[in-house]
């Protein structure tokens, strides 16, 4: 049963009716709100102001916007210096370049220094589409979450993204925010609660739990809805915060359902699903199936074609659910 208290969009199971907005648009909106409220917020970009949606911030607050050029390593360390001087920098680039190109800077200039830097990997996941493998960040969650002191958040739609951006400022220390390129369904609402570090039960079911993050969470919800007709009762968790992960919620739900499917637009190796299995393997082992990219590079194509080929559609989630239930 859908969790009514979360005030999700009432058309949540209607792909056609739901508005489609890219998660990165929520970033742009969040930045403007923060810029107005907090004079310490500054934004940096590496020649990707428009794609990462910081152009409006640049127009409104030109003195707090820094165009660094195509130089992500420099950008990340500059952000550290700004943060160690009391500013709250948002570093904006694509996931393949940030953290992709500046991991060492992230590790030492930022994380080791506990510098209050927020950094954004936009255009993450295979759904980047036509630009191909070089631009599809599929390793970013793995490479960031293994660095101490960093909070990792993957919002599921544009509304949740805006909330995450604003909430990131209340976290003391580095926060990674991961966004997608294409327009995706907006299935939460302004009234849906959001708190970094607290996973949410979007749907309550007793047979199996699907734990997802990012826009693919919607596919998980659609899969659960379909399976109701077949008499399979599926829980769905929005696990937007991969670090610090909500251990208690994950263990509780694993106990209730006894089988887990994880869903993400990222390599299975080291991603959100891996984070979930690290928790469950130690605390309450249950059968797990993982939906994500299986140790492959992506390629050019339309997002939907790619999701199909790389097996991250609603149908793939349904198959994984049926498989994991058999293993119970």
């Amino acid at each position: 049963m859908l969790n009514k208290s979360l005030k999700l969009n009432k058309d949540i199971f209607d792909r056609v009716k739901l508005k489609k907005i890219a998660t990165r648009d929520g970033y742009g909106e969040g930045l403007i709100e923060l810029g107005e409220k907090n004079r310490d917020v500054v934004v940096l970009t590496g020649d990707l102001a428009e794609s990462t949606r910081c152009e409006e911030f640049e127009e409104k607050f030109p003195e707090r916007f820094f165009e660094v050029g195509v130089a992500e390593q420099n950008m990340m360390s500059i952000a550290a210096g700004l943060a160690l001087s009391g500013k709250i920098p948002f570093v904006s680039s694509f996931g393949v370049f940030c953290p992709g190109r500046c991991w060492d800077q992230l590790r030492i200039s930022v994380a080791y220094s506990e510098a209050n830097v927020k950094f954004v990997g936009a255009h993450a996941g295979i759904t980047v589409g036509p630009d191909g493998a070089s631009h599809q960040a599929l390793e970013d969650i793995a490479s960031v979450r293994c660095i101490p002191n960093i909070t990792v958040v993957v919002p599921c739609d544009a509304i949740e993204t805006k909330k995450a951006v604003i909430a990131a400022v209340n976290v003391k220390g580095p926060v990674y925010l991961r966004f997608g390129r294409p327009k995706t369904s907006v299935f939460t609402s302004d009234k849906t609660p959001f708190e970094i570090g607290r996973a949410q039960v979007y749907r309550e079911g007793k047979d199996v739990v699907v734990i997802g993050c990012g826009p693919l969470l919607h596919e998980a919800l659609l899969a659960a809805n379909d399976l109701e007709k077949e008499g399979i009762d599926v829980s769905v968790i929005n696990n937007h915060t991969i670090k610090p992960i909500d251990e208690k919620m994950l263990v509780d739900v694993a106990k209730r359902c006894g089988a887990v499917v994880t869903v993400e637009d990222h390599q299975i190796m080291g991603g959100m699903g891996s984070a979930v299995s690290e928790v469950l393997a130690v605390n309450f082992p249950v059968p797990i199936e993982m939906v994500g990219v299986s140790d492959k590079f992506g390629e050019s194509g339309q997002p939907n074609e790619l999701l199909k080929k790389y097996m991250m559609t609603k149908e793939d989630i349904i198959m994984a659910i049926k498989k994991v239930i058999k293993r119970k």
């Binding site: 707090r64 390593q73 360390s77 210096g81 160690l84 001087s85 500013k87 800077q105 200039s109």
Partner: protein, 279 residues
């Protein structure tokens, strides 16, 4: 402290402390630390606006160390300047010490940034400089960098950015000692002409003998007076300065003296290579 002779004496004491710390630790970087003792002495005893007992005072000048491996000289200068007890220097690189093998930001009073992986410090310093400009603060940002670090692409990203933004509150002091791990810099990766390169990136460059206290003071004061450009003080130093068998030798980049060498090094430093009586 304005007396050159006093500053020279202090630099010599800092050099002795560097040798003692490194020997006690059993590992670390000798050559660069010794070579930069004069620069650090001038900075902490003549140039920097600071309050060692209130180390994070908001109007302090910032010193960012980019080539983190020469932190023994930073730690020794900080201790003598009163940031923490000189006694604590002997904990360098030991379990539980605030004097980490490479510096961690704010772990120790006066340590502004983390470094170790080369090439990040100039960018970090730019962040400090931009924040100072945004806040209309008058303090200066000094960044110590090395010649080996000029091999890193990030250094040049930063140099380009500082030129673009005319960061006149930023002064880089480069340890131009001509050595790095695998040998002489011009063999590993030719860097010259460094002065012309920085000038082409819109920096103001001052060439000095980095082991000459007076020249270091003059250059730092001149740097403060330069407007509309970041300043590079190209400090030509002698790696291993003050210890004969270490000077100019890349072998001593990351080695520490053994017991016999320790005695010899300390004696040379105490007597200024035999120029003054052993006390």
């Amino acid at each position: 402290m304005d007396n050159f002779e006093e500053l020279k004496k202090l630099a010599n004491i800092i050099r002795q402390d560097i040798i003692k710390m490194l020997c006690e630790a059993g590992s670390g970087h000798s050559a660069g630390s010794l070579g930069m003792a004069d620069v650090f002495t001038v900075l902490y005893f003549n140039i920097l606006e600071k309050r060692p007992k209130d180390p994070w005072w908001e109007d302090r000048d910032r010193l960012i160390l980019s080539n983190g491996h020469i932190c023994p000289v930073l730690y020794a200068a900080l201790a003598h300047a009163g940031y923490f007890p000189v006694e604590e220097l002997k904990t360098l690189r030991k379990m539980g010490s605030r004097l980490q093998g490479h510096p961690k930001a704010r772990e120790l009073p006066g340590v502004e940034n983390s470094s170790g992986p080369l090439g990040q410090g100039v960018s970090q310093a730019i962040g400090f400089a931009l924040a100072a400009k945004l806040d209309k603060k008058k303090h200066q940002i000094y960044v110590i960098s090395s010649d080996g670090e000029q091999d890193e692409g990030q250094t040049w990203e930063a140099v380009m950015f500082a030129g673009k933004h005319k960061l006149d509150n930023l002064t880089m002091i480069m340890d131009r000692n001509n050595i790095q791990i695998d040998g002489f810099t011009e063999d590993v990766m030719p860097l010259e002409p460094l002065k012309e390169k920085y000038e082409a990136f819109n920096w103001y460059v001052i060439d000095i003998d980095g082991n000459n206290i007076e020249e270091v003071i003059d250059a730092c004061n001149k740097a403060k007076a330069i407007y509309e450009k970041p300043v590079l003080i190209l400090a030509h130093t002698i790696p291993g300065m003050g210890v004969d068998f270490m000077e100019f030798d890349p072998e001593w980049h990351g080695k520490v003296p053994d017991n016999k060498e320790r005695k010899k090094a300390l004696k040379e430093l105490r007597t200024l290579k035999g120029k003054i009586e052993f006390d």
